[in-house]
Symmetry: C2
Subunit: 274 residues, 2 copies
C-alpha cells in the first residue's frame, strides 16, 4: 500500500503544468480565429479546436514518462496496461480560451482499478488550483444548501431551439435566486466544492462527458456535495468517450435530487407537449 498522499499525483501535476504552459503559448502565438478553427473530430464526436489540440498534445507529451493509461477529450483512450488511469480534460472552456474569456481549466482525475481516487483542477488563466483525495481531509466545504429556491446556480448555456432542454433550463433558472453561465464546467464544479455557488447543471442537453465530470465527482463529493445525472445514469469510469450525461453538481444530495427532478420534469413535460 502507498502511504496516504499529501499532495497531488505527480502525473496529474505534470499534465496540468504542461496544459498551463501550452495554453499561454497558444494564446500568445495565434489570433482568435486560428485558435477556434476546427482541425479534427475528437474522440467524443465533437470538433476539436486548434487550441484543444495544442494543449492536449502538450499534456500527452508530459505524460509519456509516467506510464499511465489516459482518457482524454480529443484522443480518447490510450491504454498503457497500467493499473492507473488519468481521466483528463486538458482544456475545459475551449470556447472561452479561444476567444480570450479568461475562464478555462485543466481538470484531471485518477482512477485506480476503475475507482476514482483523486482530482486536480487548475484555473489556467490564473494558476489557482484545487486538489482533493478521497482518503485525505479536504479544506473544501460546499455551501450546504438543500433547496433550489433561492440557490445560486450555474448552468450550461440554454439550448433555446430544443424544447426539452430549453424548458428545463428556464425552469431551473426560474427557481434559483442567481444564475450564472461561466462556460467552464470544471471551474464551476470547483466553485461548488468550495461553496461559492450552490449548484451547477447541464439542463438535459446531454453535453457532459466523463472528462467534464470525473474531477467534480471526487472533489465535490469529498466536500459534502453530490454529483449525479439528470436521468440517473451512473457516473462511472468508462473508456468510451461517446457516452454522455447531463451532470448535476450540487452542494448536498438533497439539492442535487431536487435540481435533477426539476430539470427532468420540465424537459419531459415540454417534450410530451411538442
Amino acid at each position: 500500500m502507498n502511504p496516504t498522499p499529501g499532495s497531488p499525483d505527480a502525473a496529474l501535476t505534470a499534465a496540468a503544468e504542461a496544459a498551463r504552459t501550452a495554453y499561454a503559448r497558444a494564446r500568445a502565438a495565434h489570433d482568435r480565429a486560428t485558435l477556434a478553427e476546427a482541425v479534427a473530430e475528437g474522440a467524443d464526436g465533437t470538433p476539436t479546436m486548434r487550441i484543444d489540440r495544442i494543449v492536449e498534445d502538450a499534456v500527452l507529451r508530459a505524460l509519456e514518462p509516467h506510464h499511465v493509461n489516459i482518457l482524454s477529450e480529443e484522443s480518447g483512450w490510450i491504454d498503457k496496461g497500467s493499473e492507473v488511469s488519468l481521466v483528463i480534460d486538458p482544456l475545459d472552456g475551449s470556447a472561452n480560451g479561444a476567444a480570450g474569456v479568461p475562464l478555462t481549466a485543466f481538470a484531471g482525475a485518477v482512477a485506480i482499478a476503475g475507482e476514482f481516487t483523486e482530482a486536480y483542477t487548475v484555473w489556467l488563466d490564473t494558476g489557482r488550483s484545487w486538489w482533493a483525495h478521497r482518503e485525505v481531509p479536504t479544506p473544501y466545504r460546499t455551501s450546504g444548501r438543500t433547496e433550489l429556491a433561492g440557490a445560486a446556480l450555474s448552468l450550461l448555456r440554454p439550448h433555446t431551439s430544443v424544447p426539452g432542454p430549453a424548458a428545463a433550463w428556464w425552469a431551473a433558472a426560474s427557481r434559483a435566486a442567481r444564475v450564472r453561465i461561466l462556460s467552464t464546467t470544471c471551474l464551476e464544479a470547483a466553485l461548488v466544492a468550495e461553496g461559492a455557488i450552490d449548484a451547477f447543471a447541464d439542463a438535459c442537453s446531454d453535453t457532459h462527458r466523463l472528462v467534464d465530470l470525473a474531477a467534480a465527482a471526487v472533489m465535490v463529493t469529498r466536500a459534502g456535495g453530490a454529483v449525479l445525472d439528470v436521468r440517473g445514469r451512473p457516473l462511472e469510469f468508462d473508456t468510451d468517450l461517446t457516452r454522455r450525461w447531463s451532470g448535476v453538481v450540487a452542494a448536498t444530495p438533497q439539492l442535487g435530487r431536487e435540481l435533477a427532478e426539476t430539470l427532468r420534469t420540465a424537459a419531459d413535460t415540454a417534450t410530451a407537449g411538442s
Copy 2:
C-alpha cells in the same frame, strides 16, 4: 491644457488600488453571510452589502487627498466643487465577491466639465487592468462583429418572472451562438472592448446605473464599439443615481442597434400580450 496623458489619472489608480486591497482584506476577514448582509440602502435605491460598504469606504478615504467630485454606487454624489468628477463602481459584481466567485471589478471614469475623458477597470481578483482615454490611441479593438446571429453574447441574468424582460432575454439568447452570464457588467464590458465577446446587454430590466456603464462608454467606444440603451435614453453624466438604463455594449454600432431592437421588440410584444 494638460499634455496628452500616457497613463491613468492618479485619483483613478489610487481608488482602484484601495478597492483591491480592501476587497482582499474583506474576503479574508469575513464569511460569506457576513459579506452579503445588507447594511444600508445605497444611493441607487438598492441594498448595500457589507462588502460594498467596506470597499467603497476604502475608496473614498483614498480619494480624500485628490479633491475631486465623486459619484459612487453607495454614497451617491459627493461635490467638492471640482471641474473633475469620478464616476465609480468600487465593487462591480458584489454578489460574486461576497460568495467567492472570482469575477469582480473596480471601474471608474473621469468626467471633466460633464464630458467623459478616460476609464479604468481593474479585475480585483487578479489585478488585471484596462485603461482607455479618448485622446490616446488604445490597444483594444472590439471583434468588429456586426450581426447578432452567431454572436458571443453576455447578458445579465434573466428576470424570469417579469414577462417583458424574460421574453427579451430569451429572444437575444436564441439568436446568439454563445451566451454567458458572468454577473459583472464592468468586466464583461472590458471583454467587449478587447474583442473576447461580441456584446453584452441588460435585457430590458433597467438594472444599469451610470456607475455600471460610464467606464464602458469610454473604453468600448474608443475600441470601435458602441454603448447605448435599449430605449434610446442618452447615457450622459448625471449626479442622480436613481436613473436607470438597460445598457447594450457592442462590438459595433450596427450590432448594438440590432441587439437593442431585438430586446425591445421582444419585451414590447410580451408586455402587449400579457
